[in-house]
């Protein structure tokens, strides 16, 4: 196996880890606040559909108007893909708020609410895409400014010829959509907010012992809703990345269980942001391996059937969830609706 193949593998790892990482951080915010969110998958899917749809329509439309009011000036403020991103985030936040109403306000079962949202997303996305585009539940192929272009980082061309570091910088680090860099930047940001700010302290407290927060005179409900909104935003970015950067359009069930893999990565990371980065990279690496069976064959010296490679991330998920990673203590109040008691 040569250096170029390794670089290609790492490049794929980064691209494939990004949606996992965003979803994993999304899950981290909500679970650290004591709300289990199994609906990451559904939120990503809804966001992927909304982003691709809005990006496609905006790119195709000559202008905007609403109820006869000319809005083309607004459309031209941002590129279609950014309008798509905004739509994706909105769709995902709406799903997050529905989860909030069910599980915070009405103290419903968080797993059931999350599952229900996943099912709704699976059906609704295809329905809307079919209604809008009539292409069998898919959006048209996105191109041009309806997609996130790859960014070429500074120095890429200058140091490209330096052996070792040059190709690594050029192939692996540079050349991704901006959302990839956003996702990686959110890791230290999340860490800082969680561990260095008053908001983070209260948020972590509400996931561990909401009664402590309540008796300190802080609203448990508001804190939890705020966490869910952050979850919605991050899932929205993840979904938009899926359909407008990683791929060029929305297709039925395109998230393919990434929301669940992200939950496994979250448990693997024991609900810590920096560890979440590493565990998502690991899961992303396994997904990348499935794309390059030739590399696997070269390393293990026999041909591994494709389906086995495809299923590796899911096998790892099951292993993680079965507790092969040692003791992982979830936030103590996770899954429990908070009821004020005497």
């Amino acid at each position: 196996m040569d250096y170029a193949s390794i670089l290609q593998l790492l490049d794929s790892t980064i691209r494939l880890s990004t949606p996992l990482l965003l979803a994993c951080l999304a899950g981290l915010w909500s679970e650290r606040a004591g709300i289990f969110d199994i609906g990451l998958e559904g939120k990503m899917l809804a966001a992927a559909m909304a982003s691709a749809t809005v990006a496609s329509l905006t790119a195709a439309a000559p202008g905007w108007s609403l109820f006869g009011i000319e809005l083309t000036w607004a459309k031209s403020l941002l590129s279609p893909v950014i309008w798509g991103l905004i739509a994706g985030i909105l769709a995902s936040v709406i799903f997050a708020l529905i989860h909030g109403v069910a599980s915070i306000t009405f103290r419903g079962n968080q797993l059931i609410s999350g599952f229900a949202l996943n099912f709704i997303a699976a059906g609704l996305t295809v329905l809307v895409a079919q209604r809008v585009f009539g292409q069998g539940g898919r959006t048209p192929q996105l191109a041009g400014d309806a997609r996130f272009p790859p960014l070429t980082l500074p120095l890429s061309d200058e140091i490209r010829e330096i052996p070792g570091i040059g190709p690594l910088w050029y192939e692996v680090i540079s050349g991704h959509a901006i959302l990839v860099y956003v996702a990686f930047a959110i890791v230290p940001l999340t860490w800082w907010l969680m561990y260095r700010t008053r908001y983070g302290l209260r948020l972590r407290a509400v996931g561990e012992n909401p009664a402590a927060v309540d008796t300190a005179g802080i609203s448990v409900i508001r804190l939890r809703y705020s966490a869910l909104i952050i979850t919605g935003i991050l899932c929205g970015i993840a979904g938009a990345y899926m359909s407008t950067a990683l791929q060029a359009g929305f297709g039925r069930d395109m998230t393919a269980g990434r929301g669940y893999i992200a939950l496994a990565a979250l448990i693997f990371a024991k609900w810590r942001p920096v560890a979440a980065l590493w565990s998502c990279l690991l899961f992303g690496f396994f997904q990348a391996l499935a794309l390059r069976p030739d590399i696997v064959t070269a390393v293990v010296q026999f041909r591994v059937p494709g389906p086995i490679l495809d299923s590796l991330p899911y096998i790892l998920t099951v292993l993680v969830l079965a507790g092969f990673i040692g003791k992982a203590t979830p936030p103590r109040a996770g899954g429990e609706p908070y009821t004020k008691e005497r």
């Binding site: 008053r198 407290a205 561990e208 009664a211 005497r342």
Partner: protein, 564 residues
Amino acid sequence: MTTDVTGRKAGGPGGINPPASFAHAAAPTPAAPTPAAPVPAAIELRGISKSFGPVRANEDISFFVPKGTIHGIIGENGAGKSTLMSILYGFYRADQGEIVIHGRPAALPDSQAAIRAGIGMVFQHFKLVQNFTVLENIILGAEDGPRLARSLARARKTLADLSREYELEVDPDALVEDLSVGHQQRVEILKALYRDADILILDEPTGVLTPAEADHLFRILRGLRDQGKTILLITHKLREIMEVTDNVSVMRRGRLIDTVATAKTSPAALAELMVGRKVLLNVGKSPATPGETVLSVENLSLSDEQKVERLRSVSLTLRRGEILGIAGVAGNGQSELLSILGGMTRPGEKVSGHVTMGGQPLPITGKAANGKARREAGIAHVPEDRHHHGLILDFTAWENVALGYDDDPRYGRGMLLDNGALREDAARKMQTWDVRPPIHTLAAKNFSGGNQQKIVLAREIEQDPTVLLIGQPTRGVDIGAIEFIHKQIVALRDQGKAILLVSVELDEIMSLSDRIAVMFDGRIMDILDPAQTDEAAIGSLMAGIHPAEGRPAGETPPATSGEA
């Protein structure tokens, strides 16, 4: 040094005023033996009432806590102490009445308002975040700004000062989950002090502490008082009241019965006030004719998860055809005794000792000690807490009547339940026991307390057990049902059953029992013949005083004017 500053004449032991005189008795005019300057009130409650639906948790509560004193509030479980404190901490709003803090009427709509008014609360179940450090717990909700670094630095300094001042040493960087219970409690106190509380409320603070930790806590509380803090101590333990408080208010069934200076009262007087007495229906009962011993308990001990000893070497025997009553203030080991005998010990509890039933050893630990095995051995159990252990409130009456006996061949056809037979059986039992309304398809929660209790009694007694364990048979039961239940218990005894009766109602124990065992602090203080004793003697034992050491029998019993 302790003076009667409650603003009313407390006649000491024996001078207990009826509650009616209370509404206006709490005016802050010091009574005769006070020092020259009137002591200002830190807290004054005027006519506080609070109901939850039909339940009146607090009724017209008025009292007055002078600044810089430790004020005890004592009463049985369910007397309304915790509700009252929750009102003071802004968790509940009083339906009526006024709260005055440092001379100013205070509205306390939420905890934040209570904190601003200088009230700090140490809950019975700590409100700490287990995997946070001490420092993080202390600043939670009282941070100085959006970034933590500054808050933490200030808290570290303040904490060092507070620790030195009040003997509240605790490592600021330790995780709370690594601390002992006593230290966790200090963190709670520090939390309140960090928020500049000058009124500190402690709810059952020693329930989870070892005696040494409790002593240390009392030293801390005295230190706080000497620095001018006002402390409200809620407890049902007499020893604590006597040891650490300056004044004490006694609550019973939602009412404040009396407020007295601690120095002028005695544990026995307080015990009687707490337990109280109600006009007792005379249970017509013939002398017992006890038969052979069926249940014998030897050196039974139990320590709970926190390694607190709840039962200390309890020994007793129970004979056919007698009612053995267990008297005591709640929380002195009666519940644990019942749960061991009923096969209901919890994981984490350590039990030792021997129990035999009809000569056969009865397992008290492990898998063989469960309710089903007990029923098969001939022990029926009417649990103290019928809502949690006696009934499934959402199930119908007939389902509840069948619970625990559902695998009886009479009620089944092979693997299936014969619901028809169960319903018929339930309907018959409900008629025998005069359960009203006699509708067996009604959910248990729709019956009144007394009728719920009759459902439980019907289920347990109709199975014809040899031994009947009954906990609090008439708690929350209306007066008519009490009489009926008492008669049934006596009738059962006359049929030759052995009955172990646990009740915190002293009258109930006195009128039903053929022998009375008095429990205090996990021990049986004495076993008495009700004909040869009186309530004062039992009251002393309930407070942990042997009459021989304390007041000789025959002297004026304390605090008996309540009968008037």
